[in-house]
């Protein structure tokens, strides 16, 4: 970037250049937007990204399929478990295996918990950015509970690495289900409180209605997916449209908006949280005991006591660690509905231990690419509202 800020300043004396970021409280991550202002109106917005680029895809080519899982935690770190699930589903599609029923149900359970946590952060932080601080505090109480549950299940609050290829790292512990039941009640109450604070709040309406409005055609053309696309009126949700992990057996609705503005995105996210609570309720009702890993020694590591006592298990363990899984040659694209939209993994396998190419399709990159279009001609204060409603997660954006 040949110094946008300086040249523009020299060319247009009466315009003001404002650097938003790379370290600004409302960017929630490190990304920079160079705003060109005429008074308070934005005439140009140049997003610059890559501050959090770690070369995840390059690293993936040099790690085995199993070893890549911790890197997926760091994509969308607000809902790490959903990335784990999405990646595991992609590798399982490449292998052509099905995970056991209980593993599928637990994956759905933790995914929906993660979706709630992600939406809570997005809505809460969007409100803080616009000045409604109270809602944020009410919501973060629930987010802490979700992270407590993740800690119980995976041993980690944020970087969960909960899934393994072919199932889960371990079963959910005793006490997880009753705590989740309590969470269902309390979270429902918190969402009610949130709605009391915001949904009919005239200041919230003034700040969000009509801001960042987008038509359905434009949203599709920009590559929107997830809540932002649904807020524009397109009922596209992969959980319904291309069901995975048995989502077709759950009863839930897809909320859609009409105008695609910040207010509609807020409403869609709030309703999605309620629908996620419904799905969790159904998972808890049908959860049955059973294995959480596939019974395939070519994929799943054998239990430790067998490795110490049985020759065959020792060989399987050695083969899996040293040579990896037997991967077919081919390529797959697998997409799951993450909190921000379609999270896709494109895997190219040459039959080796490591993937030949691993591509992460982040949902927020196409959404963020429309940022200039969304804020141009608006006020600088609205740029903050639009950025918050897009829910840009820099870890996923830059990879």
């Amino acid at each position: 970037m040949d110094s946008i800020a300086m040249t523009r300043q020299m060319l247009d004396g009466d315009k003001m250049i404002v650097n938003m970021g790379p370290s600004h409280p409302t960017t929630h991550g490190t990304l920079r937007i160079v705003l060109e202002l005429q008074g308070e109106t934005i005439t140009k917005a140049t997003p610059e990204m890559g501050y959090l680029h770690r070369g995840v895809e390059k690293l993936g080519e040099n790690l085995s399929y199993q070893q890549f899982i911790p890197l997926t935690d760091r994509l969308n770190y607000c809902s790490a478990i959903m990335n784990n699930v999405g990646y595991a589903c992609a590798v399982e599609k490449l292998l052509g295996i099905q995970v056991p029923k209980r593993a599928q149900q637990i994956r759905v359970l933790v995914s929906e918990l993660a979706r709630i946590a992600d939406h809570l952060v997005c809505v809460g932080v969007n409100a803080v950015d616009i000045g409604a601080f109270t809602a944020f505090l009410y919501l973060f109480r629930q987010r802490e509970i979700v992270y407590d549950l993740f800690e119980m299940a995976a041993g980690q609050r944020l970087h969960t690495s909960f899934t393994r290829i072919g199932g889960l790292f371990r079963d959910i512990p005793e006490g997880f289900v009753p705590l989740t039941e309590r969470f269902l009640v309390e979270c429902g109450e918190s969402i009610d409180e949130l709605e009391k604070l915001l949904t009919r709040n005239p200041i919230w309406h003034d700040r969000t209605k009509g801001i960042g409005a987008i038509s359905a055609e434009d949203a599709v053309n920009w590559g929107y997916t997830g809540p932002c696309l649904r807020a524009a009126g397109v009922p596209q949700d992969l959980r319904k449209a291309q069901p995975y992990l048995g989502y077709e057996t759950y009863d839930f609705d897809i909320p859609i908006g009409t105008t695609g503005d910040v207010f509609d995105r807020y409403l869609v996210r709030v309703e999605e949280m309620r629908q996620s609570l419904r799905i969790i309720r159904q998972v808890l009702d049908r959860l049955e005991p059973g294995p959480v890993m596939v019974d395939d020694p070519k994929v799943a590591l054998p239990p430790k006591e067998k490795v110490y006592t049985r020759m065959e298990s020792l060989i399987h363990h050695f083969k899996l660690i040293m040579h990896g899984m037997d991967m077919p040659v081919g390529e797959v694209y697998s997409a799951t509905e993450a909190a921000n939209g379609e999270l896709g993994f494109y895997l190219v396998s040459d039959g080796g231990k490591n993937p030949y190419r691993i591509r992460v399709r982040p949902p927020c990159l196409p959404i963020f690419s429309s940022f200039e279009d969304q804020v141009k001609g608006g006020l600088i204060a609205d740029a903050v509202a639009v950025l918050g409603a897009m829910n840009i997660i820099a870890g996923e954006l830059d990879r």
Partner: protein, 163 residues
């Protein structure tokens, strides 16, 4: 379904095809890309999900595959389209038809050094302008090489001087 339709509308446009685990893949020449994309768009493949590339340095002639993923929102059909391209060759840009192609193509350019003809603003997206090389090429070192001590590059800040 869409593949049969392409076969009738544009015979011989598809150079190769395969289906693996339910994913349909077609390989097309870059000369046919724009006509084919027009046809796809007309047939309801309006969501360009992703553009990326794969590097095959050992392959004779055409080193890269530019990979497009499409989704038909009405029928939920997916299609993968691969365009083989040699090192130094350019692929026609889709940024005029699909706004989402703009940044995806910039990323492919940044990571693989594949140019896109007709792209309005083909700059690096994830790495900085002075960055040497293209990180996702197979011959790029995993540790990134010696990127912080590059000789002879001029920084835009500090009056072009580095110290």
């Amino acid at each position: 379904m869409i593949i049969e339709h392409i076969d009738t509308q544009l015979p011989a446009a598809i150079l190769d095809r395969h289906s693996f685990r339910g994913d349909q893949t077609i390989v097309v020449a870059k000369e046919n890309l724009l006509t084919l994309v027009d046809l796809l768009h007309h047939e309801g493949f309006q969501l360009l999900v992703d553009i990326t590339a794969v590097d095959w340095p050992e392959r004779e002639g055409q080193r890269f595959d530019v990979v497009y993923h499409w989704l038909n929102l009405a029928s939920q059909e997916r299609l993968r389209m691969k365009v083989p391209v040699a090192d130094g060759e350019a692929v026609p840009s889709l940024a005029g038809l699909f706004k989402t192609a703009n940044w995806f193509e910039r990323e492919v350019f940044d990571m693989f050094g594949i140019r896109f003809d007709g792209h309005p603003d083909l700059r690096r997206l994830l790495t900085w302008d002075d960055f040497q090389g293209h990180a996702l090429r197979k011959d790029f070192p995993l540790d990134g090489g010696d990127v912080f001590c590059m000789e002879g590059c001029t920084a835009p800040y500090n009056n072009g001087e580095r110290n």
